[in-house]
Symmetry: C2
Subunit: 127 residues, 2 copies
DNA sequence: CCGCTGTTTCGATCACTGTCTATATAGGGA
DNA sequence: TCCCTATATAGACAGTGATCGAAACAGCGG
């Protein structure tokens, strides 16, 4: 399936490695291309385990966490690694090895969009 | 799809049929339950065809559209129907038959959250 | 150099999902 | 009534994806 590291994406070119992107959905009809890009991002977040991993990292002080800190989500450790890889490939996380441990961070460009997206209830409901 | 395939409801009770929900992700660690709920919503939006269908409906005047108006997305008619059903099951769309035609609307409760979510760039980037 | 711990990759399995064709259902005319 | 259009369902198939145990890889300390 994959012989390469973090950089291989079928439908998308290397540069546009899925980012917070997102042309407003209600504002107009999506182009097939934009739909592809958004779908990749949503797909990365469409798994409960990945959502929990993401939220654990995002809510950690400094927006980063060691794998060892977050791997208690009810699946085996290799599976955790697998999901983290998916989130990385989708451009939602970045990772960095420091000594023995690997730290995952919420990708910088995602922070703004994401934090707004998840707090948007205040916007949506006028609270 | 079938009517019963290891139970229609995954982990959700009938009432909480996936709604705009969404506890802020960066604010704290998601509970397994919340993660399940969010995942269902994201999963519904994780397919390019569904995103295009949704955006076509959402951007139509009145937030509703006849199937006949939106079925040009490059797949067969039954496949369109299949995707619309999925969006309906996820609570993102509602449907209504009027005479020969079936009209799909963006689910009311979703409108606010969704429009904010997709316009949130203005929020996130301070524009 | 060796072993220990933390993390990723490999290979297999099994469930799920997107797509199709064929068929069924619903409503509106002639 | 019979037929035509619009939409939904059924069944089949291929591709994808979540998961696991085992094995490989990477630093660290003895």
């Amino acid at each position: 399936m994959s012989k390469f590291k973090g950089a291989e994406r079928p439908v998308l070119d290397a540069e546009e490695v899925v980012v917070p992107c997102c042309p407003p959905l209600t504002a107009g009809e999506l182009t097939p291309r934009d739909a592809e890009r958004m779908a990749v991002m949503f797909k990365a977040l469409s798994d409960p385990v990945r959502l929990r991993l993401f939220s654990k990292i995002a809510s950690h002080p400094g927006g980063e966490a060691c794998v060892c800190d977050i791997q208690d989500v009810g699946v085996s450790q290799p599976t955790v690694s697998h999901h983290l890889k998916k989130l990385r490939e989708a451009g939602l996380l970045t990772s960095e090895r420091r000594g023995t441990w690997v730290y995952y961070q919420v990708a910088p460009s995602v922070v703004a969009a994401m934090s707004a997206m998840l707090d948007l209830r205040s916007v949506a409901e006028g609270r």
